[in-house]
């Protein structure tokens, strides 16, 4: 009996595996449908306008539409500065945590996870309150000028401050994964014993080995800033995402066309990055093993 049982059970278990396959196909087909249809329908929506027939006007008009170039430029500038600031803050700190201050690691981890606990809308409510202190309490002090400069509409520094905070969880995870895969201590000690100074060791030995992680962090931050809406809208600035919503009222086709393009561009960038990361992955596991 005890011997019989497994042999009886074995054959259905062998048959079980092929029988799962149609179920898997159905699920994946369903998922593909759900994720592709909205994009495909959006493209149809932009080129097949009721009453006009097929037209590519929505795409050709984008460049000429008022506010497109200025809002995109603002978003790209914000992204560039945010990436620079967040990397300048995080890279030395993360490398230092690996090398010499492991006791601070939980502290930094918690700090970089805090933005996950405070939703952007709550965060911007707090920022708005702080910005009101300017005119209310500080109008006679030199600090007032700082507050004005923070909110300069041509380049609102306050958005950079907010975006750096919001990017911290992404950047922390990307850099942590990158640093995990290399032996920072050996690299730095090798560089130091060859006579390199601390900055030289960091820039010439550690950073080149972190290229993938740095790129990853930069792209994630870029995608975050380009798509960010909540903070910018509620503080009254008009970068890219806010502009799309503003223009949607009068030009529906155009706003959808810009949306589709921005989604595709962002996704293409991030997919390219992921492919780049995959190509590096085998060597990483090999060096660990």
């Amino acid at each position: 009996m005890a011997r019989l049982n497994p042999s009886i059970r074995l054959s259905p278990s062998l048959r079980l595996k092929p029988s799962i396959r149609p179920w898997r196909g159905v699920i994946l087909a369903f998922a593909a449908l759900y994720f592709v249809v909205p994009l495909a329908a959006s493209v149809v929506f932009t080129v097949d306008v009721p009453g006009q027939g097929l037209t590519a006007d929505a795409y050709t008009e984008i460049l000429g539409t008022e506010g497109f170039l200025s809002s995109l430029r603002l978003s790209l500038e914000l992204a560039a500065v945010t990436i620079a600031v967040v990397l300048l803050l995080m890279v030395p700190a993360m490398v230092a945590l690996r090398l010499s201050a492991p006791g601070l690691r939980p502290v930094v981890e918690v700090i970089c996870s805090l933005p996950l606990v405070v939703p952007p809308i709550a965060f911007v409510a707090g920022i708005g309150t702080v910005l009101q202190w300017g005119p209310e309490y500080l109008s006679t002090t030199p600090l007032f000028q700082t507050f004005v400069a923070l909110q300069n509409p041509t380049f609102p520094v306050v958005l950079v401050l907010a975006y750096v905070v919001m990017a911290l969880p992404f950047v922390y995870r990307a850099l942590d994964a990158g640093l995990r895969s290399i032996d920072v201590r050996t690299l730095v000690e090798a560089a130091r014993s060859c006579g390199a100074s601390w900055p030289q060791a960091l820039v010439r030995a550690v950073l080149p080995n972190l290229r993938g992680a740095l790129l990853n962090a930069a792209f994630l931050t870029l995608a975050l800033v380009l798509g960010e809406f909540t903070v910018a809208q509620l503080l009254g600035f008009q970068p890219f995402a806010v502009w799309i919503v503003t223009v949607s009222g009068s030009q529906a086709q155009l706003s959808v066309a810009v949306s589709v393009l921005s989604l595709l561009v962002t996704w293409a960038l991030l997919l390219a990055l992921a492919a780049f990361g995959d190509r590096r992955a085998p060597s990483r596991t090999a060096s660990q093993g």
């Binding site: 905070v165 911290l168 992921a274």
Partner: protein, 298 residues
């Protein structure tokens, strides 16, 4: 490790060590200062504002819990409940479908499919917002392609409703679940299934008594994370529905910009505090579960 390092140095052992420790601190300090200013000050301002009222006549401020009480009453209460309901429903559906897709991908022999789904999930889970909302408006909105083509409006379809919003939220919640649950599914050893089968278990029994108990922390963790993500979402809802569906994020934005009543800013801060408490609760549940499920993946 430290011993070999210091003995290799020619200089006396104590001085580079101490210098290294101070440089370590120096490298972390800018980050801490930045976060204290850019994050700490607004957070404290929110906390302070949530508990103060300003007398419009005298301009004097006083501490009170009136804002918090107000944030739990009337329209704000409806919005909070609406947000919780929407987040719970979409998180549950998202978790179910995310689990199914992840299982389909994990058991697949095609590595390219797996890589493609995981990469696409990483992208979809984090970056949707306004463009995503407009893609759905173009597809299923009042003048959307599918709505016109299939005459969905006559059949009672309305994108700007509870279920419409759920459908849109699933677009980033399902990928988030796929990302969260895939490592846990990878952790299910083939040997466990074989052992269960050798002991005469059916597929249902295997899932009921082996796989689901092992997956439970990850599943619950994923569910909580999805809830938090849906709860905090604002851009999608704002670009799509305006205020057709009562949501706490929309109420906060209305109150901040003074759309409804002037002088509701501090109630907005109290609402924000409510949200932070919910999000904090989410993290407090999620992190221990995450740690627990990590045990099986070692």
């Amino acid at each position: 490790m430290t011993a070999t390092a210091t003995s290799a140095d020619v200089v006396p052992a104590a001085s580079p060590k101490r210098r290294r420790r101070t440089t370590g601190w120096l490298a972390v300090v800018p980050l801490l200062v930045f976060v204290a200013i850019a994050f700490g000050v607004p957070a404290l301002a929110m906390l302070n504002g949530a508990f103060t009222v300003k007398d419009p006549a005298t301009g004097a401020t006083s501490y009170t819990t009136a804002n918090l009480t107000a944030s739990l009453q009337g329209a704000y209460r409806t919005a909070l409940i609406g947000s919780v309901k929407l987040s719970a429903v979409s998180a549950a559906i998202g978790a179910l479908f995310g689990l199914l897709i992840a299982q389909a991908v994990v058991t697949s022999r095609f590595h390219a499919l797996r890589a493609a789904v995981l990469t696409a999930s990483g992208v979809l889970a984090n970056f949707g917002g306004v463009p995503l909302a407009f893609a759905f408006v173009a597809t299923l909105g009042n003048a959307g392609v599918l709505t016109r083509h299939f005459g969905l409006a006559d059949k009672g379809w309305n994108l700007y409703s509870f279920w419409g919003l759920t459908l849109v939220y699933l677009y980033f919640l399902i990928p988030l679940m796929v990302l969260t649950i895939t490592p846990a599914l990878d952790g299910l050893r083939a040997q466990w299934r074989e052992a269960a089968q050798n002991n005469g278990a059916t597929a249902v029994q295997y899932w009921r008594h082996v796989a689901l108990p092992v997956l439970a922390p990850s599943l619950l963790g994923g569910l909580v994370l999805l809830f938090g993500s849906a709860f905090a979402a604002y851009a999608t809802a704002a670009a799509m529905v305006g205020s057709a569906v009562p949501l706490v994020t929309l109420q906060i934005s209305d109150a901040i910009s003074g759309n409804v009543l002037v002088g509701q800013q501090n109630v907005a801060l109290a609402l924000s505090l409510d949200m932070v408490l919910v999000a904090g609760l989410v993290m407090a549940v999620y992190l221990p579960l995450q740690r627990r499920s990590a045990r099986w993946l070692a």
